[in-house]
């Protein structure tokens, strides 16, 4: 395809609108195979919408999208999907290994069965072998998330789409999950897309950033996109981007408190604050 040859993900003039409401428009993006892209932005900016487009669940209103040179198929085998962490009910009659098996054949008709040969390699790859037979609802958030990743990897995808995979995990578990995904990317050349509120936990592994806010977007390397000038232009209000050691701190220009991006080495108490995300506050400030 012209201009997108060899790209794992290629978007040209991609636009999504619902009625008159434009989610984002004229989006151009190329992600090379084996690279890691972070999609950043406030709640409601259309990050999850873009993920649905990449999965082939939602058509573009205008423009084109290709995954490995082909249009994204409905639930296509080449895209693995790690859903947002959602706590499983403790009584749920399902084990980690059953969850992973769904990644191999969950969409097929018939009775469920577990084939160790198909799922053991990915369960080992995420380091979940010691609790793969425990009811999933009894596991910690980090353990459940590892199994979700194993499920996404079970189909041998060339593209891994992660929707806020670190949400509600403690910093140690976040670091482990990032490492598990990145190791798989390096060993298998899988292209990885993270949708996230905050870049700090994944800053070390990200090659490319797409920032969406208020119907606008900016794409490029983290250093070129995440600047005071760029984000101020996106939000239409003054935003400060400050780098402290390894951490990127984004501070809203309005006077509302709590806009700062807490430090990554924060205590458990601070982790809770981070769920709100700096960007959500920024968007609110902009709308008022």
């Amino acid at each position: 395809m012209n201009g997108s040859g060899g790209s794992a993900i290629a978007l040209r003039g991609a636009t999504v609108r619902f009625g008159d409401h434009v989610i984002w428009e004229k989006l151009d993006l190329d992600v090379a195979p084996g690279r890691c892209l972070a999609i950043l932005g406030p709640n409601g900016a259309g990050k999850s919408t873009l993920l649905k487009v990449l999965l082939g669940l939602l058509p573009l209103s205008a423009g084109t999208i290709t995954i490995d040179g082909r249009p994204p198929g409905h639930g296509s085998a080449e895209a693995g999907y790690v859903a947002q962490q959602r706590v499983f009910d403790p009584d749920l009659p399902i084990r980690g290994r059953d969850l992973v098996q769904f990644g191999v054949d969950g969409q097929r008709l018939g009775l469920p069965r577990t084939r160790a040969r198909q799922v053991d390699p990915v369960i080992e790859a995420v380091g979940a072998q010691s609790y793969a037979d425990v009811p999933i609802g009894l596991l910690s958030g980090g353990q459940q998330q590892r199994l979700r990743i194993a499920q996404a990897l079970a189909g041998g995808p060339r593209l891994l789409l992660c929707d806020e995979p670190l949400l509600s995990l403690d910093p140690a578990a976040q670091e482990e999950i990032v490492a598990v995904i990145d190791r798989h990317r390096r060993e298998h050349g899988t292209t990885v897309v993270h949708v996230t509120h905050e870049i700090t936990p994944i800053a070390d592994v990200v090659d490319q950033v797409l920032y969406v806010a208020a119907g606008r977007w900016a794409a490029g390397s983290p250093d070129t996109v995440l600047t005071t000038q760029n984000l101020s232009a996106l939000y239409g209000t003054h935003i400060d981007v400050i780098r402290v050691h390894d951490h990127i701190v984004i501070v809203g220009g309005d006077s509302t408190g709590g806009c700062t991006h807490p430090d990554n080495n924060g205590s458990a108490g601070q982790v809770r604050d981070r769920h709100d995300g700096h960007a959500g506050h920024l968007a609110e400030g902009h709308q008022h």
């Binding site: 669940l57 639930g75 769904f102 969950g106 008709l109 009775l111």
Partner: protein, 299 residues
């Protein structure tokens, strides 16, 4: 009158067969009802089977056909009004209250015996006719066939809807299909244990099974076995007394649940201790070689 003599009577054979048919369907859908949090939907469709039956009695003197049509209509309405669980529960509440009101009205017009009405509410297992048995058999076959074909995607969609949708599972369509299957099953069961006691076959056995295992197929198997034991066991017990079969069926079902609740934690503890014995060796392997099998596969 001995049990042996009773078992040779057609009404007793019909009853045992009807109870077994209903129990298999109920036991099969039970784990999904529990996983999808649809206990209230079961209750709602069961009670509205009463309205359908009353309408059937009035129009064609046939409560079963009325109940079947009514329950499928109700399943469609529930799917239409509520897709998320909380929304669904309030939608069921709304439809249930109005539907029962209509049922009472319809019954007021009915000139037949009042026992026809109580039979719908509390079941009349000994009045199962040959034609009713055939209806139950057809319902059972449909339920078993649908569940056999869509079991895996339905389980995926019930447990992890976001991931299932991403994999191309038609989550909404399966939700509607399950509602229809549930409505058919519940209507069939209402003939045996009555609309008010359907939960004892559609929920209790599955809830008990979940206490004992986390393997989806083991849970399904146990749920079916428990439902059949409760239905036919309760029936056999009632042959010896004047008490209605529903009482024994719900009692046996409840007893199974209590035993499962008490033994479930013990089983879980034993499995945990077994895992602890296995664990040290496995963890060491993980630490030294993060993914030996996996790395080899590609390298």
């Amino acid at each position: 009158m001995g049990l042996g003599f009773l078992l040779q009577q057609p009404f007793a054979q019909h009853a045992l067969l009807a109870a077994a048919l209903v129990a298999v369907s109920c036991g099969l859908i039970g784990p999904f009802v529990v996983t999808r949090g649809m206990a209230f939907a079961v209750h709602g469709t069961a009670e509205l089977a009463f309205t359908g039956a009353a309408a059937g009695l009035l129009v064609a003197n046939n409560p079963v056909v009325g109940a079947l049509i009514g329950s499928v209509v109700v399943a469609g309405l529930i799917a239409l009004f509520g897709s998320r669980q909380r929304e669904r529960d309030s939608a069921i509440g709304v439809i249930l209250a109005f539907g029962m009101g209509i049922g009472v009205l319809l019954l007021g017009f009915y000139q037949g015996f009042a026992t026809a009405a109580t039979n719908i509410l509390f079941g009349n297992i000994f009045g199962v006719s040959g034609s009713q048995l055939i209806v139950l058999l057809v319902i059972g076959l449909i339920v078993v066939a649908v569940m056999g074909i869509w079991y895996r995607p339905l389980l995926f969609a019930s447990v992890d809807p976001e991931a299932a949708e991403a994999r191309g599972v038609p989550v909404r369509g399966l939700g509607l299909l399950f509602l229809v299957v549930l409505a058919l099953t519940v209507t069939g069961a209402a003939q045996v244990v009555g609309t008010l006691l359907v939960l004892s076959l559609a929920i209790t056995p599955a809830a008990a099974a979940q206490r004992l295992s986390a393997s989806p197929l083991v849970v399904a198997g146990l749920s079916i076995v428990f439902a059949v034991v409760a239905a036919d066991g309760g029936l056999l017990a009632s042959f010896q007394s004047n008490v209605k079969a529903s009482v024994f069926i719900t009692s046996v079902s409840f007893a199974i649940y209590v035993v499962a609740r008490l033994t479930g934690p013990l089983l879980r503890d034993r499995r945990r201790r077994q895992r602890h014995r296995d664990r040290p060796a496995r963890q060491e392997a993980t630490q030294t070689h993060p993914a030996p099998g996996y790395a080899r596969q590609d390298g």
